[in-house]
Symmetry: C2
Subunit: 759 residues, 2 copies
């Protein structure tokens, strides 16, 4: 047989992998039968390699000292990671950037009226926890990218500090204008809280961990249990990452030594008001000193005080000043070159920087990645040759704002746009269930991986255990029916909060985020107690879930790197996007119904009739009834998308049924390139309204939720914000993106049809 007919045979065989003739457990989408068998052999060898003990020792080493951005141990860790990659046979180097990373110069918080109290702002040593005493190297408790400030003002409690909370405050007659707000952690990413507070006229923002969400209400506190002790503080970035991630001074370009940098006063992602995170021991006297109306029932936390809103009589003094320095980043980048498709890159990353010791965040994710790398290196030694290039990354500077990943992605944007096939991320890991999120074109693929890895506790597959958990926690019979009948478990959509953001939402590279968890306790997040002692007592003490993560992501990486045809699937994607559009239509309808109903109630006098005269209450304002939006462009686009994804699947089947016309190696490469571009096609060069850096039109972090995803954000957010004109304007834009995606899928289908008789 000549090369041509071989290629036909190969492709038909690959397709067979999906169209089900050989035993089910040997099929692999995108592989010919022979290749699938070989792949399964290599994967089996791979899965035997990761060792919980290795993962434990990596964790001990990497979390032994505080290793925040700019610290000596951060660099030391990067160099140690680099040495490991080299030792395991990878082509590895460190890539450095220079980024703005403020650290505290002054921090003060006092209650000045009606009584005096000075906040401690310190996390004490816990005797049995050896690294908790490394105070000289620990970053103080603070929010990075808070503005400098020195303010004294009445205090107001704003619950989670999200926009709905301020609507509620308005109804209760409470204004935050000129006030310092105190918000509890939760319900949104922390950076949203000072942003929304400033939009409402507040002059300062305190964020605290309420024991109801993050303390003794949840469980025994550290060191007796996993949960946050009274003086534990959640550090964290408050940079407005909903505008862009990465170095605040170099949006959209790599923060290389000689990059052009914005002057500080032009940077839009810093907070407008001074912001400081505190412990619940420090928060209690402040909240207890508040008068004014009672906080609404669901705003009340676990402090054991009566929650009032203020303003006053509590008045507080808040002062924060920072060193606005540039600091170096050390990204470790390691490669195994592809044998036949070196220009198609499978990228895998987890950050290595932490706020303090970070045994959980990020080391519990970083160490399984290392163990994958060791095992893949071992396979290469045994003769394994991935078709595609594999790139393993250990990011620096994730904590302040996805700095290391973003700067690397921006620096290498051109190459990534040509070569980036898939990015797989993790951030931390624990005991429990496999969490799967990412691009829905990979939903079928990642379900296949989850079916092939074993849960350490139950010996079920990770997929099965997750399915059964979802059945248990489903509320509606309809959801349980779907869980039993649908081939794939639905995967979550990605918002932000970890290093996939620059790849997925800025560059349009199909991405996944995979981590285990759900049975481990929280409570030490971004505190000095997130360390080896805590992790080995309360998270994954035997590191068997570390091994499970290595096995899961390693298998995914191998399968993606080895597949002859990239296993992108458009049927789940199409179904998912249709679901999003349905949600938008329901949302628009319910917003219209709600406004209509509220206006009616205003007319009926509901709010004056139900106002308790002994309390302040402000009736809601009449709102204009929203117009009906024209969803037709989206519906037309969805029909095209459905037709094209059907055509792609049919072509796949037909190609199996008859030999059809040939598809040579070049055509296969073309088809893979088309598939890689399918995620790029979901972006626009203009990006989202008000935030052009975010180019993806299906997934974005919410402008007012932060980490929380907004799907079809260009349409969803204006509807949520009652900006009907913008929603109407963006619908055709998103519709065009989906129509273009349908055309791309059509052209991929046409390539496939050549093998099926050329129609």
């Amino acid at each position: 047989m000549g090369r041509r007919s071989l290629a036909i045979v190969a492709l038909v065989a690959i397709l067979t992998g999906i169209a089900a003739t050989p035993p089910a457990d040997e099929h692999l989408a995108g592989f010919s039968d022979a290749a699938a068998r070989a792949e399964r052999d290599w994967e089996a060898k791979f899965k035997a390699l990761p060792s919980p003990d290795n993962i434990r020792e990596y964790n001990r080493r990497l979390s032994a000292r505080p290793h925040n951005v700019g610290s000596p141990y951060d660099k030391d860790n990067a160099e140690w990671i680099l040495s490991r990659y080299k030792e395991w046979g990878w082509d590895a180097h460190i890539e450095t950037f220079k980024v703005l990373f403020p650290t505290p110069k002054e921090r003060a918080l006092e209650l000045v009226e009606p009584t005096k109290f000075t906040a401690k702002l310190e996390e004490p040593t816990v005797p049995q926890d050896p690294t908790s005493s490394q105070h000289d190297e620990q970053l103080p408790t603070y929010n990075a990218y808070s503005a400098d400030g020195d303010v004294t003002a009445p205090l107001v409690y704003v619950n989670f500090g999200v926009p709905d909370d301020y609507d509620r405050l308005e109804r209760l007659g409470v204004s935050v204008k000129g006030a310092i707000v105190i918000a509890r952690y939760g319900a949104s990413w922390r950076g949203i809280k000072p942003k929304v507070a400033a939009e409402h006229g507040a002059v300062g923002c305190i964020i605290y961990s309420d024991p109801h969400e993050d303390g003794y209400f949840q469980g025994d506190i550290f060191p007796q249990g996993a949960w946050r002790p009274p003086d534990g503080v959640q550090r964290g970035s408050v940079m407005d990452m909903t505008l862009y991630s990465g170095d605040p001074l170099t949006p959209g370009v790599g923060a290389t030594e000689d990059a052009k940098r914005l002057p500080l006063d032009q940077v839009k992602v810093l907070t407008k008001i001074p912001t400081l995170p505190i412990s619940y021991a420090d928060a209690r006297p402040l909240l207890a000193a508040l008068g004014g109306p009672m906080a609404p029932n669901e705003w009340r936390g676990g402090l054991g005080v009566t929650y009032h809103l203020g303003p006053g009589p509590a008045k507080v003094h808040l002062k924060v000043k920072f060193n606005w320095d540039l600091k170096p980043l050390y990204d470790v980048i390691a490669k195994i070159p592809g044998s036949t498709e070196p220009d198609e890159w499978i990228i895998r990353g987890n950050h290595h920087d932490a706020w303090v010791n970070g045994s959980e965040d990020p080391i519990s994710g970083q160490t399984p990645e290392l163990e994958e790398a060791r095992a893949l290196g071992e396979l290469v030694k045994q003769g394994w040759r991935p078709r595609r290039t594999i790139i393993y990354c250990a990011w620096d500077g994730e904590e302040p704002g996805l700095l290391g990943s973003t700067e690397w992605a921006e620096t290498h944007a051109d190459e990534l746009e040509h070569h980036g096939a898939v990015y797989i991320n993790s951030d931390s890991n624990g005991r429990g269930y496999l969490g799967m999120s990412g691009s829905h074109t990979l939903e079928k693929f990642v379900n296949g991986v989850a079916r092939d890895v074993e849960d350490p506790e139950t010996k079920l597959t990770a997929w099965k255990r997750d399915q059964l958990r979802r059945i248990e926690s489903a509320h509606a019979q309809q959801d349980r029916d779907e869980l039993r009948q649908r081939a794939d478990l639905r995967i979550g959509a990605l918002g932000s909060g970890s290093d996939y953001t620059p790849f997925l939402q800025h560059l349009g590279i199909a991405s996944l985020n995979l981590e285990y968890g759900g049975e481990d306790g929280g409570g030490i997040y971004h505190s000095i107690y997130d360390d080896f002692y805590w992790y080995t007592h309360f998270a994954d003490p035997t590191f068997v879930y570390g091994r499970a993560l290595s096995q899961t992501i390693g298998t995914a990486v191998m399968r993606l790197a080895d597949a002859e045809l990239l296993p992108f699937d458009f049927s789940d994607f199409n179904e998912t996007v249709r679901g999003y559009v349905n949600e938008l239509q329901k949302l628009a309808t319910s917003e219209r119904d709600d406004i209509r109903e509220r206006n009616k109630e205003i007319d009926e006098g509901v709010f004056t009739a139900t106002a308790d005269p002994t309390k302040t209450s402000v009736p809601p304002k009449r709102e204009i009834e929203p117009p009906h939006l024209n969803f037709a462009p989206l519906e037309n686009a969805l029909d095209k998308l459905a037709a094209s994804s059907d055509r792609y699947q049919k072509a796949w089947r037909k190609a199996e049924e008859n030999g059809g016309s040939a598809l040579d190696h070049a055509s296969l490469a073309d088809l893979n390139q088309t598939l890689m571009d399918s995620e790029r096609k979901l972006t626009t060069s203009e990006g989202l309204p008000r935030r052009p850096w975010y180019r993806h039109q299906i997934y974005a972090p919410g402008y007012y939720t932060g980490y929380g995803v907004k799907t079809l954000p260009a349409v969803r957010e204006p509807i949520e914000e009652k900006n009907w004109a913008e929603a109407d304007q963006e619908i055709p834009v998103v519709a065009k993106v989906l129509t273009d995606e349908a055309s791309l899928i059509d052209s991929a289908a046409a390539e496939l049809e050549k093998t099926a008789g050329g129609q």
Copy 2:
């Protein structure tokens, strides 16, 4: 015109009151136009009479000292009330009974392991509250009708201590066998807690007020605010009133001097295990000392500790001993005799005994009743003559178990069965909204009353304010639509917890319970702080809602006493019962679906797959799939009920259209008697399964909820308890009751049809 034709005219005119020809605001159901005009004049005069200042002074007097059953001031109050009735021209007397009323001899509660703590069991004086210092006269904190006991055992936290909580404990691997349980107040009547605990093998029961439901979580604590202070304790009865109310020694008969009494060891309504209520200050060290599994999320309260379940290491010693004495009861009974229908009684009651000073419970309800009595006495002086007899009652011994009302009702059962038309109850009163509950044959009537009284704060009618509040708090558009379109606001069904129980559920007298509330804070219930100081600071300081209650109930009493035809309506009743039957069918279906689904999940391995190996968890047991129940008898009965209530309404209309045949005075009296019997027809002489004292087949206090109502209890409770055979057996019983009711309504309709041409 002769007497006969007058009667015809009168009845036709009465009917017109409903069928709408004269101006809407002059109509009164059951009144001829002329009588309605006279009635409205008298009601207007009446409504001008009640004075907030009088109500305040009655309250100050009656709550000046502790006045529990058996105390000197209890008798003193009864005599003072008697004098007032006499002074206002009523025919009044005191009726005495002798009842079992245990008081504490010894009370002790200690934590004996792992540390020592002795519960205080005392409520301290609050300096600014003058009556809080009357310690010599205050009943200690205890639960009346707890068994004597002296036990030392490991402690287990059981949440609210209702049956579902024990199911949950079983899943968590926690047994209460041989343990002392600690339950928080809420979710059920308190007497359910020791009952269910004993059923599960516990040897003692502690009940505490968690600050989440009843303390600082809800608002500022007394004396700064209305809410329960740390040492405040909720006293209360734990007699099993779900079996019968009244004196435990004389079930079903009056506890007169020479009544036959059960020996104590044959009394079924005492608890099986020693029981003691405590404050949250006393509860905190006990709960903080518990180990074992974490309490489920929704079980955790507001104590600011980590809620564990136990058992152990906390071990407690509980000792309670009581004086098992007989005590006298003083019911004040006062009459205005009816002018034309003296044998049809409109009864109105509120108790006068309290646990301590009881300014809210019961004096805030007792004092508006007194002011009604003063005003009605005044009207009589001005010439008003009610057609029916009015009986006003001030009950003693409500707190221990509806003793005074039950013994009176049992003593006068024969007369009441012949003469009892309607019983109207209140128990306490506060600022806010009119709460309306009772027999649904009176739903239309009480809606009419609520439309004719003014809310003091908004000057809307009480009906309008309540409608608007319900619209505001409704969740579904469908509910709001109904609230806007339905003629009547739905009234609640009565369970138990106040003095309507013997009238409604034992004797079958149509009943109403009417009180204002919803804007006043709680937190002093059954403590020494329920006093004049608290009430005048936090409940209804100006007593305008006391006046509103006088106006509301006084109007209802007058309208019922003056109506020519009793304003019973069967259309709302029919619709309501149909709703209950729908609920039962849904309940049976959802129980079957739940069991089927759970069995499937057991087969799938859901519970083993989702068990965290570091925690105990016991998978649920397979259950037999429930059979389909035969609801046909109930559906057939409902069809008959619908037909008869339609016929009654049509007859009413027809009687208006043409003169028809005559209905003389005797026939009118017959018709009224038939209408009075309509509630009696809803009872059976056998009563409910397992509790024959409860005879009503539509409404009963839940066997496992206590105060909370169970409608169609003979069918609903077996379904809830998965006793399918009993449910199937009781359906025809209840169906027969409804069919008999339909026949009664048919015969009432037939009487009416005589006026409409005799068909």
